[in-house]
């Protein structure tokens, strides 16, 4: 507010309008932020969302059932079939990941052992 007064120029009408707009925006923003943080707003949006989900639920279920029926009749995989397959793929990926980790560990041990053997051989060689 103070800053706006300092910047006030009586010969610049657009500047004055801009200040007015900025101040209105600030007030509006503050009011809306306070509004969305009230208990009443939380309860009303929660109720509206729940009502919408409850009313649209039966239609959604009907659509899904029809789709499953159609896909079955066409002998095509349903959404559940694809989901089951994806789950199995993830399980295979996890097994591969475990194998990869064991391989990494083995390689590390082999490298450490061969490094140690080289060191032992080097220390056993007679100095020329």
């Amino acid at each position: 507010m103070n800053q706006a007064n300092e910047n006030f120029n009586p010969f610049d009408p657009t500047g004055a309008m801009k200040n007015l707009r900025d101040e209105s925006m600030d007030a509006w923003a503050k009011m809306m932020t306070e509004l969305v943080n009230t208990e009443a707003y939380a309860e009303s949006t929660g109720a509206a969302l729940d009502a919408w989900l409850s009313s649209s639920g039966p239609f959604r279920k009907l659509l899904e059932a029809t789709m499953v029926h159609t896909l079955n009749n066409l002998q095509l995989p349903t959404r559940d079939d694809v989901i089951t397959l994806a789950g199995r793929l993830t399980n295979i990926e996890m097994r591969l990941d475990d194998l990869d980790a064991r391989l990494d560990e083995l390689l590390r041990e082999i490298r450490a052992a061969s490094g140690g053997r080289k060191q032992r051989v080097a220390s056993q060689e007679p100095a020329s």
Binding site: E39, L53, G57, E93, M94, D100
Partner: protein, 371 residues
């Protein structure tokens, strides 16, 4: 239109014509600005351009390693893993060349890894925090350790990524985690009136189970709308008004375009994790109450012994400071610090002041502990 001749014999336009020319120029400029505005709002900028390669994958998750910018002998010994939230893309950490946290840390000699959770599909709707904390993250870390050759490592977790990192650090304290940086971490939900999502989710009528049962995964549009509706005027009007006013400034335009590209890139959140977040964290505050159990293991914050830097955004409306600050008294770490930064949830890491405030502090804190 009449014309006159100058003393030199050249044809000149009457005095009124320059006025038209000025108006025309102004209208042309407005039209150009409108075109620029439309382009910025509807197109994507090139973000997340720092070179990286995939070192591990599982389902949709990927672990990236950034190409180091500093010779190996000058690099910090311990790698740093970046863990971002599960309902946004992690590109905000590497927004654009010249203003990228990833680039900043690479230049300071960190061996950087990024955990990208990916975009959950319908088959991932049952994924819970249990899976992220006890399957995905430990496996990615196992690969990180074998790739980097370092048994110890650091984690920087942001938003829900900080929550996942905290859970992991509490459940697996002997896994080699040395330093943990938490950014705007939503952990303590005892104050239900502090605003943000907690207030909405605590309403009796808000039914997370019904949302998940209906959609499977929670649509990104729903999460995006919720985040924007916390500050409706700023997000739905102010942001665009500010852009219009400064549309002649290429630096502002570039920054706005990059940020808007990240904001527009919305993804769904796995239904199981959403249900857990609302019911077990927001409503029942199980982590702080000490009653949170993941796959039969109780999460005990006092078992978290890694060094902790807890970065709090003072004007954060998504994770209010009260949700983060209490954690330091509950963890078992000896070396712990709270760093408060002026700014919002995203602004402290991606805003214009991040390079002067947040990033240098993270670097100096970590550099003293990363070797």
């Amino acid at each position: 239109m009449s014309t006159a001749q100058s003393p030199q014999g050249e044809q000149t336009h009457p005095k009124s014509v320059p006025g038209y020319a000025e108006v025309y120029a102004e209208l042309k400029k407005i039209a150009e600005n409108a075109q620029t505005f439309q382009r910025l709002v509807t197109t994507d900028a090139r973000i997340a351009q720092t070179p990286k390669h995939v070192v591990w994958t599982l389902n949709k998750a990927r672990l990236f390693r950034y190409v180091p910018m500093v010779p190996e002998e000058k690099r910090h010994k311990l790698p740093l893993l970046l863990v971002f939230a599960i309902m946004n893309r992690p590109h905000v950490l590497d927004l654009r060349p010249g203003h990228s946290f990833v680039e900043y840390m690479l230049k300071r000699g960190y061996d950087l890894y990024l955990m990208d959770w990916g975009i959950p599909g319908p088959e991932d709707s049952q994924l819970r925090f249990d899976d992220y904390v006890l399957d995905y993250l430990p496996r990615a870390i196992r690969k990180l350790k074998s790739t980097s050759g370092s048994p110890q490592f650091n984690i920087l977790g942001w938003c829900l990524g900080a929550l996942i990192s905290t859970l992991y650090a509490s459940l697996r304290p002997d896994d080699g985690l040395k330093n943990l940086i938490l950014l705007t971490a939503p952990l303590d939900f005892s104050d239900k009136t502090s605003g943000g999502f907690v207030r909405w989710a605590s309403a009796r009528q808000f039914n997370a189970d019904r949302i998940v049962d209906t959609f499977g995964n929670v649509p990104g549009e729903m999460i995006d709308y919720g985040a924007k509706a916390l500050k409706p005027v700023e997000n739905f009007v102010g942001s665009y008004l500010n852009l219009w006013e400064r549309i002649d400034n290429p630096k502002v335009v570039e920054a706005w375009h990059a940020m808007n590209t990240w904001v527009r890139d919305i993804i769904p959140m796995a239904g199981g994790a959403y249900r857990q977040l609302i019911n077990e964290f927001f409503r029942e505050n199980r982590l702080i109450e000490g009653t949170l159990v993941l796959r039969g293991e109780r999460v005990d914050l006092s078992r978290l012994t890694a060094n902790v830097l807890n970065v709090i955004a003072e004007s954060d409306h998504i994770t209010p400071p009260c949700q983060s600050e209490g954690i330091v008294d509950r963890i078992g770490s000896r070396d712990k610090e709270v760093f408060r930064v002026r700014g919002g949830h995203i602004g402290i890491m991606a805003g214009s002041g991040a390079e002067k405030n947040t990033w240098p502090h993270i670097d100096s804190w970590l550099a003293a502990r990363a070797d």
